[in-house]
Structures are given as structure tokens and as C-alpha cells.
């Protein structure tokens, strides 16, 4: 059975062999071809049978394409807007104006940072009340200018801190959901990495919700669920499975509209290809939405959320 360590070891061996062949002209072509074939077979086996916990780890992979860099690759131009105009700005939830496929759009996205300093500055993508207030402000701007809104979600959750509570993080998230639900413009949300609870749905109440193949979307982190329900932090992998947080499962449940495939091994193997795939999917859904008359689009959005989860109810038995 394929496992991550065997694959890593084989990858290293292949790289070394290739270097020998290409740089030093050693005649090992046949061995290289054999090894490469074996590696691909193992990768296919492994990545086609990923557990939900494997996906959680891929969604959190340190090299996963995300944040400002990915959004800049998906869009043709990005001009950042800063500040909530009420005394704050947040580096964990960012946004602004961009161009995509020749048209102007509004974008909002979580930013987790790549260097340790940057990660500290944006709390690894856990947004503050001022971040959600800025998001509401930017939603108003794009609605005024009649631009479609794209959101890119990748957050462990909203920031759990004393000051965030005092500044009404709950109300800021609620306002974000309420504003997004009522926007007159088309909205497309893409869950790129972690879609962590309230902090994620604040940007996900969209006309269309797309997920990268190894992205997750969940009411609580698997670790949180493990601690509360299993009373055992080590149960996180079981919790991940039970929570139904994977993109394929959420497609089945009708929560996601499309799963955007990732290369074998995960999005970090090919960041540019990932950006292209996201761009293509977003443009396609945006195109469909822009064909719809305003009332119909709003009616569809309302009924999508008004009926959300009804498949999980049944007539009372007792």
C-alpha cells in the first residue's frame, strides 16, 4: 500500500537519478524510466484514496498556493483596498478591485502569510472584526460599481481573542453574511484551503460555491470536534471523516457546486496550474450567473440558503 514516506523517498531517488542522467551524462535512462513509472503508480494509488484527514493536511500544507499570491495569479490585475474606515485594518482578510477575463471584479480573500513574520502579522489567516467590517465595506463598493464579487476562502476560523470579542467579532461575521446574501451583483466563492466555520461562511454565502479538490469546509476543526466529542485530541482523523468536510462529500451534499481538480500530490505541486484551473472555473460560473436576470439570480440565491440543510430533516416520527 502506498504511503507518503515511500513516495517521498522514491521522489528523492528519481530526482537524484535524473540529475545524474542530465548533468553527468550517466547512462541510467532505463532505470530512471522504470523508477518514474513506479513513482507515478504509487502517487496515483495514494492520492486517489486520500482519507479526509489526508485532505485536511493537504489543505494546510505550508507550500499550498494561497492568499495574495494565488489571487494575483488568478486575476489579471489586483488593486488592494485597505481599512474598515472605523479605525482598523486587517492583514488576514484582504480585498480590493481586480480584472478577470477582461472585466473588472471585486475580490475578498483570506491571507495566511508565508514567512513567520508575515504569519504573525496576519495571525495565519484568522481575521479580526475590522477584517469582516472591511469586507462589508468592500462589498458595498463593488455593489455600487456593479462589479461581480469573488471571494477566496482559506482560514482556520475567525480570531478567538479578548479584543476581537469586545469588538463584536460575532456581529461582524453576521453582518458580513447578511450583506453578502443581499448583494445585487453575482457572487462566486472559492474555498482554496481551509474553510473554517464562521470565519469562512462569512465570505461563502455566494451564488456559487466552488472547492479545490483538497480544500475542506467545516463547522469546527477536526481537532476541536475531537476534543469536544471524543474527549481525545488523537481522534482528529476520525473526526475529520465524521464531519464530512471534504470537497467530494460536500459536492454530494449540494453544499459545493463544483470540485476543481488538483494535480496528483496536491495544489502545491503545480501552483500555476492550480491558479489556471481556479480562474477557468470562476470565469465559467461567473459567465453563467451574468446570463441570469437580476430577480432570478436573487431568487435562486435566496432559495439556496432558505432551503439549506432541508435534506437533513424528516417528518416527526413520535
Amino acid at each position: 500500500m502506498a504511503d507518503e514516506r515511500t513516495i517521498r523517498a522514491l521522489e528523492e531517488k528519481v530526482a537524484e537519478l535524473r540529475r545524474l542522467v542530465e548533468e553527468e551524462g550517466v547512462d541510467l535512462q532505463e532505470e530512471l524510466a522504470l523508477l518514474e513509472e513506479r513513482l507515478q503508480k504509487l502517487q496515483r494509488e495514494y492520492y486517489q484514496s486520500l482519507s479526509d484527514w489526508d485532505r485536511v493536511r493537504l489543505a494546510r500544507h505550508p507550500e499550498r498556493p494561497r492568499g495574495l499570491k494565488l489571487v494575483s495569479q488568478v486575476c489579471d490585475a489586483f488593486y488592494e483596498l485597505r481599512g474598515d474606515r472605523m479605525g482598523g485594518d486587517d492583514l488576514a482578510l484582504r480585498g480590493g478591485l481586480a480584472r478577470l477575463g477582461g472585466q473588472p471584479v471585486g475580490v475578498l480573500f483570506h491571507h495566511r502569510g508565508s514567512t513567520p513574520e508575515e504569519q504573525r502579522a496576519c495571525r495565519s489567516g484568522m481575521a479580526l472584526p475590522c477584517g469582516y467590517r472591511k469586507a462589508v465595506r468592500i462589498m458595498r463598493v463593488v455593489e455600487r460599481l456593479r462589479l461581480p464579487l469573488l471571494t477566496f476562502i482559506d482560514t482556520p476560523g475567525a480570531y478567538p481573542g479578548v479584543q476581537a470579542e469586545e469588538e463584536n467579532i460575532a456581529g461582524a461575521i453576521a453582518d458580513c453574511i447578511a450583506t453578502m446574501l443581499e448583494l445585487a451583483v453575482p457572487t462566486v466563492a472559492v474555498i482554496l484551503g481551509e474553510g473554517g466555520s464562521g470565519g469562512a461562511i462569512a465570505l461563502a454565502a455566494a451564488d456559487r460555491v466552488l472547492m479545490l479538490e483538497n480544500a475542506t469546509y467545516t463547522v469546527i476543526s477536526p481537532e476541536g470536534a475531537a476534543a469536544i466529542l471524543w474527549k481525545d485530541a488523537a481522534a482528529a482523523p476520525q473526526a475529520a471523516q465524521a464531519l464530512g468536510l471534504s470537497a467530494p462529500r460536500l459536492l454530494e451534499l449540494g453544499v459545493a457546486d463544483e470540485v476543481i481538480p488538483e494535480p496528483l500530490g496536491g495544489a502545491h505541486v503545480d501552483p500555476e496550474g492550480t491558479a489556471q484551473a481556479v480562474r477557468e472555473a470562476v470565469l465559467r460560473h461567473l459567465g453563467e450567473l451574468q446570463q441570469l436576470p437580476l430577480d432570478e439570480r436573487l431568487k435562486l440565491r435566496y432559495s439556496r440558503y432558505r432551503n439549506a440543510g432541508n435534506l437533513g430533516t424528516k417528518a416527526k416520527t413520535g
Partner: protein, 284 residues
């Protein structure tokens, strides 16, 4: 104003009351054994130390509405356990036990009644039912309640007692945040007043959606109001929590609610609000 911690700022967690009601109940704050009838007559407030016991939805409704005016509108729905969720115990078993011990179909009771002569649609959450958590049934009941209020053009009153979204229904619970907010949008467009009463606890996904969007927001004394739980905050940030953190008075001082009300005064306070708003929505 400094925040004092006193017994009135405490809620007492009582065991789920099931089967035959015990004659005596022990106050979790001061340890006093209180005769149950005395406790009921005292609005489930400990006569010795003033701590609040949890109220069931039925007790809360009885304490708020004019006698004999409540007409239940709770839809005959229950959870179908959409994820077939199981942790150390199957969710289906937890649901069955909660239904049996509370005699409720899920964590909210909805109905129409009068408060001080004012017609309202009232939704009251019940903490005994899996922590008052909001899953697909609670979300549907709340959305339905708001639609009833919008249609009848009478104010909507929500009494919150919920730890947040229901973990066992996964993202479908998370989506109830959007669902209830969508329904509240319709209520708002109809110009129908929405009054929220936050009790212990009003936290997590419920607070980050429907419970934060009222026109008038009251907190019952001692209520716990916030998004993240104290333990999560400490674990993630290592911050020390200030005294009275996330309690009703703390919420008032940080601008999160319009008023803090004692349990005995809650009905009168609601009547005051409804009096001021009589004639709203216009033409209603």
C-alpha cells in the same frame, strides 16, 4: 464602571430533568438544596444566593407570555442525522435521548402569543437539547418563525440559549447561519421588528448569525455572550480573560447589547419595547 462578579452573574447548570421531577434541586452555585416548588415560584432563581437555573423553553414561554395566549407553531420535524454521524456515541442515540428527556423534537419551540397584549411570534431555544445547538431543524424552525412573523406583520421575539452550531450535522449546521440570516432579511424588508433576548449561553455560530441581527437586543443578567469560548481563546492566544468577560454586563459595557435585564424584569422590559413599537410595522 468596573465589573463586579457576584452570584447574580452566575448560571447554574442543572442536570437534565428527566422522568419524574425531583422534589429538591441543588443550587450549583451555593450548594443549597431548594424545594422545587419554591424554585419554580421564584422563576428558577436560587432563593439563597440569587443564581439563575436554566429555564426550559416551556418555562421561559410561561414566564413571558400572557396566560393562555400561546399557540405552538413548531413544525413537526426532526433531524434525519444527515451525516450518519458517530463519535463515541452515535448521534442518532443522542437525538433519541434528547427527545425523550426534553419531550421536544429539537432545541427550539416556536409559537404565537401575546406579551402585555401585543401579538408576537416567539421562538425559544432550549439548552437541554444538545446544548441548544443549531442544526438543520433549529434553522428551519427559526426561518419558518420569521416567515410567520413577516406574513402576520407582528414582531418576532427570539430567546437564545445556544452554544452554537451543531457539530454532528457538519457544514449543514454551518449553513443554518446563512439560512436564518436570509430569513431575517425578509423580515427586515417587511419592516417587522425583531427583538432578541440573549441568555446563558449565546455563543458560537448562533451568535455569529441570527442572534446578532436584532433591532433590539436584550441580555438576561448573567448571560454568556460571545463568539469563541473562553477555553478556545486561552488555548489559541494565551490571553488572560478579564473578570466578567463575555457576561451580560460586560457585553453592555462594550456596546454589544441594548440592556441587561433581570429574569424577574424581562417580561416587563419586553412589554416596554413592544409598547414603544406599537403600530410597527406600519399598517400592521
Amino acid at each position: 464602571m468596573p465589573i463586579r462578579k457576584d452570584s447574580k452573574d452566575r448560571y447554574v447548570e442543572v442536570e437534565l430533568r428527566r422522568g419524574e421531577e425531583p422534589l429538591w434541586m441543588r443550587c450549583g452555585a451555593c450548594g443549597e438544596l431548594v424545594f422545587r416548588r419554591r424554585l419554580r415560584e421564584n422563576n428558577y432563581i436560587c432563593p439563597r444566593c440569587g443564581a439563575y437555573f436554566f429555564l426550559t423553553a416551556q418555562e421561559r414561554i410561561a414566564a413571558l407570555v400572557d396566560p393562555d395566549t400561546f399557540q405552538e407553531l413548531t413544525l413537526p420535524l426532526e433531524s434525519d442525522d444527515p451525516l450518519k454521524f458517530s463519535d463515541r456515541k452515535p448521534y442518532a442515540d443522542r437525538l433519541r435521548e434528547a427527545r425523550e428527556s426534553t419531550e421536544l423534537s429539537d432545541a427550539v419551540v416556536v409559537g404565537r402569543g401575546k406579551i402585555g397584549g401585543h401579538e408576537v411570534v416567539l421562538a425559544v431555544m432550549d439548552f437541554r437539547f444538545i446544548g441548544g445547538s443549531m442544526g438543520v431543524v433549529v434553522g428551519e424552525q427559526l426561518a419558518h418563525a420569521m416567515e410567520q412573523a413577516a406574513e402576520a406583520r407582528i414582531p418576532f421575539v427570539l430567546v437564545v440559549a445556544s452554544g452554537g452550531a451543531r457539530v454532528q450535522e457538519g457544514v449543514l449546521s454551518l449553513l443554518q447561519m446563512a439560512k436564518t440570516v436570509a430569513a431575517r432579511g425578509r423580515l427586515a424588508r417587511a419592516g417587522v421588528p425583531y427583538i432578541a433576548v440573549l441568555t446563558y449561553p449565546s455563543t458560537g455560530g448562533v451568535m455569529a448569525s441570527i442572534a446578532s441581527l436584532a433591532d433590539v437586543t436584550l441580555a438576561e443578567q448573567g448571560a454568556l455572550i460571545g463568539f469563541a469560548g473562553p477555553r478556545v481563546i486561552q488555548q489559541t492566544t494565551g490571553e488572560r480573560l478579564p473578570p466578567g468577560f463575555q457576561r451580560a454586563r460586560y457585553a453592555l459595557e462594550h456596546g454589544l447589547v441594548d440592556g441587561v435585564v433581570s429574569r424577574e424584569g424581562l417580561r416587563e422590559e419586553l412589554i416596554q419595547v413592544l409598547d414603544v413599537l406599537s403600530g410597527v410595522p406600519h399598517g400592521g
